[in-house]
Symmetry: C2
Subunit: 307 residues, 2 copies
């Protein structure tokens, strides 16, 4: 069983309009709602792959109830912690030209919310092989939330994968998760090429003892476990919606670790999943036939460690 | 008891951002949510005035549950009909310059939804003196929904006030409600001055047998019952948020009719309520001290009927 942690899930709402005009009133022609947040996307991809997955984190208010109802039947086991404050919404307004996004702040957590969550996390960690933690953290969570959770997971002797950014990534890194898997923007290197990314991954891996995987979208990924290094480029470019591709990659890493596969094989498979997510219309899904096609030709190249 | 009809209530969400930029991702700094829809605003103003009021219409899904929970304790008696489809949301994005609005379409009603609603309406009409109907109609409602409801109300021998636009206003007019109360935009005359509005009100009153009140915001209102005519200008201009001022006016008309006050007195009082709503921060509220001040100096002038 994989434990997917989503501290800040969302109800992702998409509005279709003719054209976004600041100051105007728009009649929305079409509305889509789906469960969102990076950890939820990870859990959904794992469930689609038939991988047993339990979701923990926070859900509250009417949006939280909607999210839980929408997850029912997805295959994801829902162990979200009920909170008083309402789960955030994201609004993406799509017109012919662009997507305009409005992100609500996450629900403020109380100390009691966090305590109840960690009790659930400990209980679930006892029965899972891997804990995978992704995305932002709502206000009121400890500043080193991911660090605390990695230490708890290590106490339970389970494998950990963390995809976070900024201070939460640094807090996770200090606790030494099995794999740190930011994308290049989350790693603070939005415009870096493979060589710079690989240097950053090697340095971080050397300091933390974690394997570090930095994903770079269409440019593939770089990885280092401190002794060995790898780069990988996608077997072919896929057109579609890149939102959620990084979450499919993270899901692939978690699944590979749960299956105790060698890291190069894990990375090749995860990159195929990321490509197959681009071809799926919404985040949290993959195109299964494309996944099988890409997995057959996806590979990683071992590179010399940085001097 | 006044029966407020809100066929298409909404959860009104306000986002505060720095500046709306099409194609960009915005972090929302502040989120406000409140029950909305014209009929809900009418009911809330009546409740604030201490007037017994029951709300009927439709509510569904997570937003519908949120709306009902938010109305609890407001003094409005909730007799909304539960539906499967979700109550609509409106998103108003406020920056330093402007308000940008995204209106979701209303929830599609089934035939069974409408039937269950009309049963509730009939039951409530038996114990109410006035039915006041405001605002848009969700998809799936009959094309002459307000006409049907006015006829049902007349069958129960109760007074009716309708604030609607377009084909729904015309359908209501054909059924001859006690008062038709569109604003000038809803009446199809967004730029008309008092003389043209008064001519339109007189003509419509003559054809329908209804009293017709057309509100014109800061310019006041015109009214005709087919034999007598009135105009009124606000005793003074109030600065603030005009959203919901028309709903306060409609609430005032419904309350005056419930108290069997003469129409000129009803109109003067309703205009004071509209002004007091402008001074309140959100729709569905009035500034009570200002209402008392404005009511003391609000009056209407009888004008000669149109030739």
């Amino acid at each position: 069983m994989i434990l997917a942690v989503c501290l800040n899930p969302a109800v992702d709402v998409t509005y279709v309009v003719d054209a976004v005009r600041p100051g105007a009133s728009h009649q929305v022609s079409t509305v889509h709602r789906r469960p969102g947040g990076k950890g939820v996307n990870v859990a959904r991809v794992l469930a689609q792959l038939g991988e047993p997955v339990t979701l923990c984190g926070f859900a509250g208010g009417a949006p939280g109830r909607w999210l839980r109802a929408a997850l029912a039947g997805s295959g994801v086991i829902d162990r979200l912690t009920e909170i008083e404050a309402g789960t955030r919404q994201t609004i993406t307004v799509v017109d012919d030209a662009d997507a305009t996004v409005f992100n609500e702040p996450g629900p403020p957590l109380t100390t009691d919310d966090w305590t109840r969550f960690t009790e659930t996390f400990d209980e679930l960690a006892k029965t899972c092989e891997v804990a995978v933690m992704s995305g932002s953290v709502p206000p009121g969570a400890p500043g080193d939330a991911y660090g605390l959770l990695v230490r708890r997971a290590k106490h339970h002797k389970i494998t950990t994968v963390v995809d976070a950014s900024g201070s939460q990534m640094l807090a996770a890194a200090e606790a030494g998760p099995t794999v740190l898997a930011p994308n290049r923007a989350e790693a603070g290197l939005p415009d870096a090429g493979p060589a710079s990314l690989f240097a950053a991954a090697s340095t971080l891996a050397g300091r933390t003892g974690s394997a570090v995987v930095i994903s770079a979208g269409r440019d593939g990924l770089v990885a280092s476990d401190g002794r060995h290094g790898w780069t990988a480029t996608p077997p072919r470019q896929v057109s579609g919606n890149p939102t959620g591709a990084g979450d499919a990659l993270t899901a692939g890493i978690a699944r590979g670790l749960a299956h105790r596969s060698p890291l190069p094989d894990v990375l090749a498979d995860a990159m195929a999943l990321a490509g197959a997510a681009v071809a799926a219309p919404v985040a949290g899904q993959i195109d299964e036939p494309l996944y099988r096609e890409l997995a057959a030709s996806s590979s990683v190249q071992e590179v010399a460690p940085c001097p």
